[in-house]
Every structure is written in structure tokens, then in C-alpha cells.
């Protein structure tokens, strides 16, 4: 709607200061959309009033302008399968050496204090070994959190352990999985884990899935990941 001056001036009639000021005051209110101090008090807008955000294409995050959630990142790769075996270990394929699973991790630089909530899931399928003994030792899979650029294979969180590629023979519980009843039926494992981690402003957090495969023929598939960062 266009601006309408409230006063029109007439020829040979003195311009009234009040009328002139009235027109400019009306113009000022029009530009301000009639907002006056009584309408919007300072510091009166709360997070529940406005929740919107935008997609940050560089980091593939949805960054929220307000609300309790800072960013939300979702990656889903349901159908692609990748070999992920013990053969990448230089020696001792049964040794504890974790490796980051592709597409199941993210590097986060914290702008301010917050909590990272990490949700991850994937399916890990083991086959009969080529080089190792037939039974496969339980392959530990964990959530791993490292700070800055110093990533150690011991950074994994022990309480998040899953057991993938697990398969014993019929007589011995080689992998300490508790399974001694059959052979060839336990090598498919679904891993799902949620984990929260509090981080301070300025910290660089590498959060991922660390896997210690003890199977020389196996693959990872159906990978899903969500990373939520909350202010606190």
C-alpha cells in the first residue's frame, strides 16, 4: 500500500507548520511500517518467536538462525557397499588398530560452547576369510572423538562398542562374543549408536566411527549419519 499524505496544501493559503510536520510524520511512520517503541520492546524477541535457518552449501549443514539447534547434518548412503577389511593393517590382522569408516564422520569447529549429538548406523557384513583362520574374531566398532589434529586410534569410546563381522566356529568362542553354537550365521551386524559430547568454543572436534576389522573379506553398507549441534 502506497503512502498517502494526510494534508494537501492550497494555493494562496499559508502552509501550516502542523500540517507539514503531519505529512513528514506520516511519512516516517510509513517507512517504519507504523512500528513504535510500544509495539516491540527492546530484547523482547525470543527463540520461540523466530525459528528459521539456511542451508550452508560449503559444509552441507543446515544452520539455524535461532532456536536451540545450531546445525544439523544428515548423510545417508544406503545402497553403496565398500570393502572394509583387516587387510589394511600392515601386520597382525588381529591386532587392535582402528580405522575411520568412510562417510561416517565429521569435523566440527565450535563457534561457542555446545553439545554435539552424534547418531550413526550401518550394516557390516563379513564373509569367510581368505587368509585368516575360518572363524572371525569380533571386530570392535566404536564412536571415536578426537580433538584438534591429533587423532589417536585409542580415542574411541569404549562404552559405544559394537561387535561386527562376528562369527565363531562351533566349538570355541574365539571372538569372546558368547556365540559357540553355529558357524556362518552371525557375520551380519547392524550397528547403531547415539552419543553426546560437550565441546567448548574454539575446539576442533573430529567425531567418527572407528572400526577394528578382524576379517579379511567384508564390507560396510547402509551407512547413515546425523550430527546435531546444540547451543548450551
Amino acid at each position: 500500500m502506497a503512502y498517502t499524505p494526510p494534508n494537501v496544501f492550497v494555493t494562496a493559503t499559508a502552509v501550516s507548520a502542523t500540517a507539514l510536520q503531519g505529512n513528514t510524520a506520516a511519512l516516517r511512520q510509513y517507512i517504519n511500517r507504523d512500528i513504535i517503541k510500544a509495539d516491540v520492546f527492546p530484547a523482547s524477541v525470543t527463540t520461540t518467536d523466530i525459528v528459521r535457518g539456511e542451508y550452508a552449501n560449503v559444509v552441507r549443514d543446515h544452520q539455524f538462525t535461532s532456536g536451540d539447534v545450531l546445525t544439523n547434518f544428515i548423510d545417508s548412503n544406503v545402497f553403496e557397499s565398500n570393502y572394509f577389511t583387516s587387510t589394511w593393517k600392515m601386520y597382525n590382522q588381529y591386532g587392535l588398530k582402528t580405522q575411520q569408516v568412510p562417510q561416517l564422520g565429521k569435523r566440527i569447529v565450535m563457534e561457542r560452547d555446545g553439545t554435539i549429538f552424534f547418531t550413526v548406523a550401518g550394516s557390516f557384513v563379513g564373509n569367510a576369510n581368505y587368509e585368516l583362520v575360518p572363524e572371525k574374531k569380533a571386530s570392535g566398532i566404536y564412536v571415536q572423538i578426537s580433538k584438534e589434529d591429533r587423532v589417536l586410534q585409542t580415542d574411541y569410546i569404549a562404552a559405544t562398542k559394537g561387535r561386527c563381522y562376528t562369527e565363531d566356529n562351533a566349538t570355541a568362542d574365539v571372538d569372546t562374543s558368547g556365540n559357540t553354537t553355529s558357524f556362518g550365521k552371525y557375520s551380519r551386524r547392524w550397528y547403531c549408536q547415539r552419543y553426546s559430547y560437550s565441546a567448548l568454543a574454539g575446539e576442533i572436534i573430529n567425531i567418527c566411527v572407528a572400526f577394528d576389522p578382524n576379517c579379511d573379506k567384508a564390507h560396510a553398507t547402509a551407512r547413515n549419519m546425523q550430527v546435531e549441534v546444540f547451543y548450551r
Binding site: 503512502y3 530484547a43 559405544t160 561387535r163 556365540n179 553426546s196
Partner: protein, 232 residues
């Protein structure tokens, strides 16, 4: 965007009504194309929000984990997951769970062993819960002192149930084959739609066996438990 000319007068010069009217009528004409929608995405950001008396960030994270304790579940009555410590999150001064807020609870653990009573394999098929164990969240109201379950249960099977041998006549006989070394999970998003505040003393995760005659024990190990609240 068109420019709007304003008539200027020198000191002592007589203002004409036509000129004065022209100033405002050109504003009137020019303002007709103004768009009422504010398209500037940065018009309001976190920096403009009230961070004073009203809580700006409303998240509340609490979590616990354990990796070296094993719990043997031997009862069909819901009881707390008793790792070290028990998986109960207590809010030190109570937690006000206000209308419209969301409380998220996430629990992950491994079932590392199961004691299944051998017998007629068809028993495992006729009763769908016979080889199962369940998880459920419980809370205590700090005002009323009432303890109550939250949400539904998650039910997991300790067997693969139908282990058909395709080489046998008629597809083979179904047998119950243990399925252990498996990561299991339970989650619930609780939105307070009661219209009133719920005062939370604690929230815990409980577990039970479904039918003791068929399943006498399940061992749990390496668990994580997170509870957090945020506005939705």
C-alpha cells in the same frame, strides 16, 4: 528503484503549495512499488535475541556410560539396567519439563550372551515373545512421587528363529539359533502435550525378559544413555 525529487527552497523564498504537494504526491506514487516483505535474512539473528531474564538456550544434556560391567538380566519384571552405576539420570534440583518442550532419551547397549532353554523348537515360533527381552524408560515425578513408564517398549529377539536348511526335505525344520553379540537400542522423544509442567526427579532405562520358561538370562554390556531437553 525510482528516485523521488524534493523541492528545495532558499532562505526567504516563498514556498508554493503546488511544490509542497508535489513532494508528497511523488512520494505517494513512488512508494506504491515498495514491497512489504522484508527480504533481508539477517534482519534478526541470535545477537538480537533476549539473553537476559528469559533463558536463551534451553537445552539440558545429561548422559552416562559404562564399558566394563556385565549385567545378567534374569527377571521378567522391568528393573533398572544395572551397570555401574545404575542407568538412572537424576536431575539434581528436578527438571521442569514445560508444555511444548521435547525430551529426548537414547539408550544403546550390547546383548553379549543369552541362556535359552532348549526344547521343542516350535515353541519359539508359536509365541512371538518367547525368546525376547524388552527395554522401557521410566520416570519419577518429583512433586507427586509417582513413578511411571514413558512411551512404548523396544523388543529384541535372542534368536534368528527360523533357521531353515534348504537342503532338507520340506525346507528343513525351524530351530532357534542364538543371536547375540548384537547392539540394541531404545529411544523415545517425549513432547509435553499435557498443558502443564511435569517435574522430573529422574529418568531411567529398565529391562526385562519376556518369558522365563524359554529365556532365563540375557547379559548386557557396554551401554550409553543420554537424556536431553530442547524446545521444539
Amino acid at each position: 528503484m525510482p528516485t523521488i525529487p524534493i523541492t528545495n527552497y532558499e532562505a526567504g523564498e516563498t514556498m508554493s503549495s503546488a511544490d509542497a504537494n508535489t513532494d508528497f504526491t511523488t512520494i505517494q506514487a513512488g512508494s506504491a512499488i515498495l514491497d512489504d516483505d522484508n527480504t533481508r535474512t539477517e534482519w534478526c539473528s541470535r545477537f538480537h535475541l533476549d539473553q537476559g531474564a528469559t533463558p536463551f538456550i534451553n537445552t539440558s544434556f545429561l548422559s552416562m556410560e559404562d564399558f566394563d560391567t556385565t549385567m545378567a538380566v534374569t527377571t521378567n519384571v522391568f528393573s533398572v539396567v544395572a551397570l555401574v552405576p545404575n542407568f538412572r539420570i537424576t536431575f539434581p534440583f528436578g527438571l521442569g519439563f514445560f508444555p511444548g518442550e521435547t525430551l529426548r532419551m537414547h539408550f544403546d547397549i550390547n546383548a553379549v550372551a543369552a541362556a535359552i532353554v532348549s526344547g521343542n523348537a516350535t515353541d519359539y515360533l508359536t509365541d512371538i515373545n518367547s525368546d525376547c527381552y524388552q527395554f522401557r524408560f521410566y520416570f519419577r515425578d518429583s512433586v507427586t512421587g509417582v513413578t511411571a513408564p514413558i512411551g512404548s517398549t523396544s523388543t529384541y529377539s535372542t534368536t534368528n528363529k527360523t533357521d531353515h536348511n534348504p537342503t532338507s526335505t520340506g525346507g528343513g525344520q525351524p530351530t532357534a539359533v542364538n543371536r547375540i553379540g548384537q547392539r540394541v537400542n531404545h529411544s523415545y522423544c517425549w513432547i509435553n502435550t499435557t498443558g502443564g509442567t511435569i517435574n522430573l526427579d529422574w529418568i531411567e532405562i529398565r529391562v526385562r525378559l519376556c518369558e522365563l520358561p524359554f529365556l532365563t538370562s540375557v547379559s548386557l554390556k557396554e551401554g550409553t544413555f543420554q537424556v536431553f531437553k530442547a524446545r521444539h
